[in-house]
Subunit: 339 residues, 4 copies
């Protein structure tokens, strides 16, 4: 499949993330257009489709994917709906960009992985957009070059002003630390083999019952150690910092060092208020790369394997949260398709 | 004029800047397409047009502008060719994005301004792309808010690794300091009323006969003082820094504080290697904003007045370079169209 | 005891640290003089004493302490010799500044503590000189003020260019992490209740058999979590960083942000080469404060309790290194003298 | 003269600076003691002397210098009284540390210089204490090493929260910029040959009639250009920054990068509140070096020539303030004694 013309994308899910991707494809990304939107809420789908020339609203997945204007699928529905959408796309052999998580647990992620494996070629890119962030990309290329020797540790900080209502301990793992799970695996090129969670006394600003902040500890297949301060109710801003400790040097990305102000006895700058501001460019770049690769008939970026491994580590993380123990991560053997 | 469909752009000039704008419109910007390219070198125009669907190559300005597929004009030819292209576009009442400088001298800039004034509405946006840089935008909004009181001084640093062969003292003003001339006028909302140039002993790394580095001093209509270190053969990278000194605080943008590395007794980061890396996003944003405004039938951004004022200050700057004196800047009265 | 004149100090041990303290008292500190030096190596003692007016060399502890010119004792002999020197000083009821560690293990530290307790008043200040470092002092006062809410975590980095020959895993705890043990207890005002050690694959630059770097994890009596990256063969310099994570903000001290240089595509500064450069002022301030307090007849600063608690945590740390387990720290009840 | 024992210092003037130097010699500096204090206000002299063992109060300069306990003189009286005190010290051939300015104008400074020249050897160190500041010392050694090529420009910022009542335009030169005059001459090893002053509209926070901030521009004998932002009512803190622009790099000292705090959407640190905090160590080091050199029978540090040159540039600076013109600096030929 080689799309010489504009790529027709079906966007599955028209909630917050879905609507944002519709906007991005329509007004930011070149080489693609929104050919269809799918939502079980017919009214919402119609409302989103109305503003876009040549965009058909659907409530049925299969119908959308059978639409001849649809060349590719972007899945932005809630996690539990991902598996069905992925399998439907695989049936039509359509390229997919699937928002993280691939699916909400390791068992379903493995089913998806097996289904793609049965196709005999990769069709899925998982939406771990940090891999497209300029700072992470520079860090990755520095580590890959080995300029400072092997990487021995990573120190991560993942700070968010406040959690939305209803946020749970498990969501700290599945929605938040999942990003550090992926960046750890990607930056180091190793699987995570064990997880520990240390839980200090919670902040008075964390909602009742939420163990925030916490310290996640990963061990990797190459014996590296990774710590992540997760603080989702820090109040002061959104900060995602990663420092790699190598044999002869360290490198850190993610400090907020843009505009520097001197005033009233203090110097410093603003902290990024949220993930939209921090990673908008990464989202754009992610979708653009996917459009470009798709038009070339190729698949790049995070794969089903990456989605599956993240799901498995998340499950270990949730168990480590509950037990306070070191929890080993178990993975099936990596299929050749993903090597 | 309201373009509901994709905006057809004629790009005038297919040299380095022109080719880059063609690429940007074709692959980065949404809502626009390259409908025509114009170059006196027919072969070069054809070569550029060949890769783009529906793009007609031209050697004649008037023919290109008469092309019904052309809705707007982007002028990226050498400065001396700008006046003719602008007047041709005005004749057809086409919206124009004109690379800086508007024209190479104040007299021709004033002729262009009078021609647009005769149209009775603005058609021209001048390519002072720093106004679209994220750092400058944050600085501008901080100063406009008056958080730290009135702005009293600006300290600029404009550093470039090396000048290309044939660079002259006048080019230091017209090609380099012209950016600080525009950012000064834009950030402060005032005209520049006088210019001085101090010229230290030149660096041994500057080409023979080029007075680099130098210190430019501007006074504004509100009595502010602005200094600019211009160092175009600094060797170590590309650095554009602006610090505003207000009554109760200062704010600085442009330091290179991205990825921070510790290694071999030193800490720090990379310096942006050149203006492409530093301002690529600003260029993209500039063209996108222009496309968007054009499709709405509007004109925004730097105007002919801004282009004319910059040309007038450049002329004063060149005289200040030559004489070592304070040179006053003289401007015609500002037409209502630009107020 | 109130020394209106100059304080006569006996310095026990004239090795590297002892000789440095002799120099400090003789030429940096006001209000004190070196009245005696003690070393089992008579020749070394005499050599050091020779350059200082009115300084008597001794090989016998008791004789030195009986010297009427001696008003106070500074112990800088090797750790195993501390207990005897402390007990001798207690017998004469002399004020003591004792280099860390108080003694090499918790049992002997507890004996010293009991002996001082029997005196009925504090006579000992332990040489945890980080408590006198300007950066740590500012951090401490920020945390004590509670400006950003309660402190929930500390992230420490303790990096050293290289270990001397013969450095062992136990020395990583007793000589290096012991500083973070003390700063943790001092900054947080809590005891450490448990220790874990995570050991990544060692750096190729660490001596064979030394598990460097490593990650130490402390829990405190108030449920705070503290991590310390210990990297004693990092090669690039000496860096001691402490970041406190509070409920509404974080504060970090110890980055090397002095002289900033732009050159050859990089910006940044030098990293402090070693602990002497980093903490010279803290050492001076420590001794000066001790001299001043002593002349006023008072005892301040880290006490025997602090020395004992550090020894107990070190022992837990060594066990945690060996076992990979969480090791709880056990302390005797805190005597009233130290509350 | 070689002082094997403690150096007996007569402190001339017991106002704010004098009392601070008395305290410093008495309690900070080793190797010196305050043998005498001199003040025309007998009561104030007696009050200061009372707390110090062996310190005699005087109202008469000559009597104080004849005191056999006096080995050296520290002049901290108001500037107009310096000449008489210096000449009295020269008569007794006593070493002198003279607070800046050497004298208030170039003519009297030249008389002092001639008097010292007549002695045939240097006796005077001028109190330009920035030469002892750690940051400036590192910058100086970097420039002297020529690592980044020749120095072409300096950018200085000299910011102070507020001026005391009665501060005048001339004091901006003589009390404030005089420090940049000295650091320029010292860092570059060149004389200042011309001065310009640009005066923006004054800050609303400057006292009526005071032209603050202002921009001073120096040219040097080697053709270097130096700019200094002088802002003595900036409100936000005390900041003394110096950036040297060399042929292949720049180096900056004086940013406030100690403790870094994240809180409420901002990151950054405190700005030093005043010159005492910023330069206390430099003052201590200055006096200690002088004591040490004096005890060795030597004279080091800023000389009468440095004091005279600063006075001459200040006079040009005041004229440049008044006229707005470039004012050339004229110096007598440099005597061999100061080469």
């Amino acid at each position: 499949m080689n799309h010489q013309g504009t790529l027709g994308v079906a966007v599955i899910g028209t909630g917050r993330m879905g609507a944002d991707h519709v906007r991005r494809i329509d007004t930011v990304i070149s080489g693609a257009r929104v050919a269809a939107v799918v939502d079980i809420d017919a009214e919402r789908a119609e409302k989103v489709a109305r503003g876009i020339e040549g965009c058909t609203p659907h409530t049925d997945l299969a119908a959308a994917m059978a639409d001849p204007a649809v060349d590719a699928v972007l899945i932005a529905s809630p996690g539990p709906a991902h598996e069905a959408a992925l399998l439907a796309a695989f049936e039509r052999d359509l390229p997919v960009l699937c928002e993280k998580p691939l699916t909400p647990d390791a068992a379903s992620a493995l089913r998806v992985l097996r289904a793609e494996q049965a196709l005999g070629h990769r069709r899925t890119q998982v939406g771990f957009m940090r891999r497209y962030d300029a700072g992470y990309l520079r860090l990755k290329s520095l580590l890959d070059a080995g300029t400072y020797g092997r990487t021995l540790m990573l120190h991560n900080k993942h700070r968010n002003p406040a959690t939305p209502p209803g946020f749970t301990d498990a969501m700290l793992v599945n929605d938040s630390v999942v990003h550090e799970i992926d960046t750890t695996r990607w930056l180091l090129g190793e699987e995570i083999t064990a997880v520990r969670v240390l839980r200090p006394v919670p902040s008075g600003n964390a909602p009742d019952g939420l163990g925030d902040p916490s310290l996640f500890l990963f061990e990797t297949s190459a014996g590296q150690v990774v710590d992540t301060e997760l603080f989702q109710n820090c109040g002061f801003g959104y900060q995602v910092v990663c420092e790699a400790v190598c044999e002869r040097g360290t490198a850190r990305t993610g400090d907020d060092h843009g505009l520097v102000v001197n005033s009233e006895g203090h110097w410093g700058g603003s902290i990024t208020p949220g993930f939209v501001e921090r990673f908008a460019d990464a989202y754009d770049r992610q979708v653009q790369r996917w459009v470009d690769a798709t038009r070339r008939g190729e698949v790049e970026g995070p794969s089903c394997w990456d989605g599956y491994a993240a799901a498995a580590v998340c499950e270990a993380g949730v168990r480590a949260q509950l037990t306070g123990d070191r929890v080993a991560v178990e993975l099936v053997e990596r299929p050749a398709l993903y090597s």
